[in-house]
């Protein structure tokens, strides 16, 4: 990546570039992502600042931030970015790296939600809402949370009792096998 032929140590920024196929130097810190972020108000640092910390090499601060975990992955930022930097993808990479490096995660529930979601995919090949709810509640013991919206969702057909069938579950399992980290 360096144009002057000198070798440099592999950094977190390089990890992110490898995971997302985009260089963090693309970001010119205009802040349009933060300006439009629907969960910005709950974050400890603004999304553009997470990129800034990585640009400057303050990796620990970036990985410890709550922001990547609060990011809902709605991709409003990615859509509006003038530099076409995919910030949602970037946040995904930061979350992965935080887990890999063993950084303490403040929002354990969110991590559990991600795990529960992925487990459904692993098991059924696609998302299964009831399984997700059940597993998430068992993991977090938030048994009564959001229970009142359950009947509504059920009536609207958003909660299918039986998981969707999928022809080629094996391929999905193979993906999990290939990408699984020890």
């Amino acid at each position: 990546m360096s144009s002057h032929n000198h070798q440099h140590a592999h950094t977190i920024a390089d990890d992110i570039a490898e995971k997302t196929f985009q260089d963090v130097s693309l970001c010119y810190q205009c802040g349009k992502c933060s300006a439009g972020c629907p969960v910005r108000y709950y974050m400890d640092i603004a999304p553009n600042k997470v990129v800034r910390l990585i640009q400057l090499g303050f990796y620990e601060e970036a990985l410890k931030s709550e922001t990547p975990w609060l990011c809902a992955g709605c991709q409003t930022c990615s859509t509006r970015c003038p530099q076409e930097f995919d910030l949602a993808k970037f946040m995904d990479a930061v979350r992965e790296l935080a887990l890999e490096k063993g950084v303490e995660i403040k929002h354990k529930d969110i991590l559990k939600f991600h795990e529960a979601f992925l487990n459904q995919i692993k098991r059924f090949g696609r998302s299964y809402e009831i399984g997700l709810i059940a597993e998430y509640k068992m993991k977090t013991m938030h048994l009564m949370q959001d229970v009142d919206s359950g009947p509504d969702m059920f009536m609207k057909g958003l909660l299918e009792v039986i998981p969707h069938k999928m022809k080629d579950k094996k391929s999905v399992k193979d993906i999990f096998k290939k990408t699984a980290k020890k």
Binding site: Y28, Q29, C30, G31, K32, C33, S34, A35, G36, C37, R40, Y41, I45, A46, N48, K49, T76, R80, C81, P82, Q83, E84
Partner: protein, 665 residues
């Protein structure tokens, strides 16, 4: 044939990695070489004298100089050769610096390569033909395309030097965007007050032929000898009779059918109109698309009121040809429009700012008209939707500019300054108003520019927020602007009465078409390319065509004016002599062999290949062949490489010469 070889050390530049004495010794034994010498600085006076002495003493026929790039000193050595009586095209340069010593480390290998390079040059020079420079006459008239401030300045400068000018403007009046501006930064002087006297000067100048409402349709010929065809669009008004009294425009019953483009569509204009009261020439135009007469054959109100019988409904477009020596292109820019563009358009719109559907979200030029004393609101700040005075205005910079996702990566350069001016003008008139500017960086390089921006912030209390706005939404007549102050790292929401977008300066819609008509290159954005970004910023790569103003890249007024004067000077340099000298390195067609496939015509980047008819004794055409216009040919050699029958050759680089060079390797 007696050839002399001269190897230059270029101080240490060549000598460090090439063993120059070894090169000169090795070259002594090459067939045809009479003498081979080396010297520390061949380009210096003693070096040149050495060459001249050897030519005279040994009666040399040709020389090879092993030195730096021919770009650097080919001229020097050619001149030395001419002084000693050799044709300048019997001088070959072997580039031992850029092509050898600078790019290699190994002395032995580099020296071997240097010998190869010289040997190749020797084989070529043996076959070189003596050539003579081409002389072409010069028509001392200038065509200026575009009547904005750049075109006006260029036309006045050339005309004041005593040369004739034809100034072509596609709109009904000259003046360009500058005539639309309210006040100008950093002095806040009134734009019209400084511009209109110049417009009148153009109109009255005996050396300037002004052609408004006209467009360049065809450009033929080459530097010093262009023939330009100009389409004079039908005004439907007899220019020789019209006095510009304006009665037709006031009486025209068509009131709300056509937007006034001078007012940036914030007002309407009648079917017969003068773009603005100070227009030059002050002669109206009838817009066929909205005029009742052209639809129903009735009305003719203008005919009834015109005391001079100047209305001429059946007037047609006319084509005028002009003989021209130099062309100055000053076609300017237009503003990027945030509206949703049709499918397939290269340009994307701004969905997050409402695709232009919010009435009180205006662009920079619209705001200029609102702020202008001669504008639709007579200089009072009123927002377009309901005419109320806005108490809170948000200015957003870099809309489109510096925005890869919308297709424009560049900075439009002037928006930082005019936004500061806009905010300042607003604060000067609406004292209790609030002005917010969303910016990414403040780029205020220029005399008194940074001071101007500071004045807006310090004296006029304009609030600058560093960050790009994410979205604008409408709510109860207010515009909710969502941004982030990236310095304080705080989300910010402003409920504004009006939003002004500093949209990007982009190339004119027909910029690329005009470039193709003239034969000049342009970049991916449609801006015209200069011949060299540093040292030839005024010239296009086509001889005799010069650039001025924002058609080359975004520019403010002083820069456009400076560039226009420079372009005028370039045209005058051309007119300084009666004949032009050109290098004879041009392509020539072998008329016997040419089969007339015209592949060369297709590939020629300069449009130099023409069709020539071959006639027999009775004047009957028996075949068509290619013919190279020496004035246009730039000697690039594309045609010679593409010719399937090898019947087009470049003088100075013909096949025999080049193959001999390759064979010597």
């Amino acid at each position: 044939m007696k050839i002399g070889v001269f190897i230059c050390h270029c101080g240490e530049n060549i000598g460090r990695t090439v063993d120059c004495p070894r090169v000169s010794k090795a070259c002594q034994w090459l067939p045809g070489v009479e003498v081979s010498l080396d010297y520390k600085y061949m380009c210096s006076d003693p070096g040149q004298n050495m060459i001249k002495d050897e030519i005279r003493k040994k009666k040399l026929d040709a020389i090879v100089v092993g030195s730096c790039s021919p770009h650097m000193h080919e001229k020097t050595f050619r001149k030395a050769a001419v002084d000693a009586g050799i044709n300048p095209f019997l001088v070959e340069i072997a580039n031992l610096r850029e092509h050898c010593s600078w790019v290699h480390d190994d002395i032995d290998a580099a020296t071997d390569k240097a010998i190869d390079l010289v040997r190749m040059a020797v084989e070529k020079v043996k076959r070189n033909q003596p050539l003579t420079t081409i002389e072409v006459p010069v028509t001392k008239r200038t065509l200026v395309i575009g009547g904005g401030i750049a075109g006006i300045q260029a036309a006045l400068d050339v005309a004041n030097a005593g040369y004739e000018v034809v100034l072509v403007e596609k709109e009904p009046s000259i003046g360009g965007h500058m005539s639309q501006l309210s006040e100008t930064f950093p002095t806040l002087d009134c734009s019209q007050c400084i511009l209109t006297p110049r417009m009148v000067e153009v109109y009255q100048h005996p050396k300037i032929k002004l052609m408004t409402y006209s467009e360049v349709e065809k450009v033929e010929g080459f530097i010093g000898n262009f023939t330009v065809t100009i389409r004079k669009k039908a005004r439907h008004i007899d220019e020789s009779k019209c006095t510009g009294c304006g009665l037709c425009t006031t009486k025209c019953p068509v009131k709300k059918k056509a937007f006034n483009s001078f007012e940036e569509n914030l007002a309407y204009r009648p079917a017969v109109y003068v773009p603005f009261p100070q227009a030059v020439p002050n002669i109206p135009v009838i817009d066929e698309t909205v005029c009742t007469y052209y639809k129903t054959g009735k009305c003719q109100m203008c005919v009834k009121v015109c005391g001079r019988e100047a209305i001429s409904f059946d007037q047609q477009d006319t084509l005028v040809t002009e003989e021209i020596g130099a062309i100055i292109v000053a076609t300017g820019y237009k503003l990027y429009n945030i509206e949703k563009k049709p499918e397939g358009s290269m340009i994307k719109g701004y969905g997050e700012y409402g695709y232009g559907k919010y009435k009180d979200v205006v662009d920079g030029l619209q705001f200029e008209r609102i702020a202008s004393a001669s504008g639709p609101t007579s200089g009072e700040f009123k927002r377009p939707s309901d005419g109320k005075e806005p108490k809170k205005i948000v200015f957003i910079q870099c809309v489109g500019s510096r925005d890869d996702s919308k297709g424009f990566s560049y900075c439009s350069k002037i928006c930082c300054m005019y936004t500061a001016k806009h905010a300042m003008l607003y604060k000067h008139k609406v004292h209790d108003g609030e002005a917010y500017v969303f910016y990414m960086d403040i780029r205020s390089g220029g005399k008194m520019y940074e001071e101007f921006v500071r004045r807006a912030i310090e004296e006029d209390g304009v609030k600058y927020i560093r960050g790009r706005v994410s979205k604008i939404t409408e709510k109860n007549g207010k515009y909710i602007v969502k941004g982030e102050d990236t310095l304080a790292s705080m989300p910010i929401e402003i409920d504004a009465d009006m939003v002004v977008l500093a949209t990007a300066m982009i190339a004119q819609t027909e910029a690329s078409e005009l470039a193709q008509t003239i034969g000049i290159p342009y970049d991916k954005y449609g801006f015209y390319n200069e011949a060299h970004p540093k040292l030839r910023p005024i010239e296009s790569t086509t001889g005799g065509v010069f650039l001025a103003g924002a058609c080359q890249s975004p520019k403010d007024i002083p820069e456009s004016v400076a560039m226009a004067s420079a372009a005028a000077a370039k045209a005058m340099v051309l007119f300084g002599s009666d004949k032009l000298e050109r290098e004879p390195v041009v392509a020539k067609v072998n008329e016997l062999f040419c089969a007339g496939c015209f592949l060369c015509k297709k590939v020629c980047p300069y449009g130099a290949v023409e069709v020539k008819e071959m006639k027999d004794r009775n004047g009957v055409v028996y075949k068509e062949i290619a013919y190279v216009n020496e004035g246009l040919c730039q000697g690039c050699g594309t045609c010679t490489a593409s010719c399937p029958s090898k019947s087009i050759e470049l003088a100075g680089f013909n096949n025999e010469e080049v193959f001999a060079q390759i064979a010597a390797l």
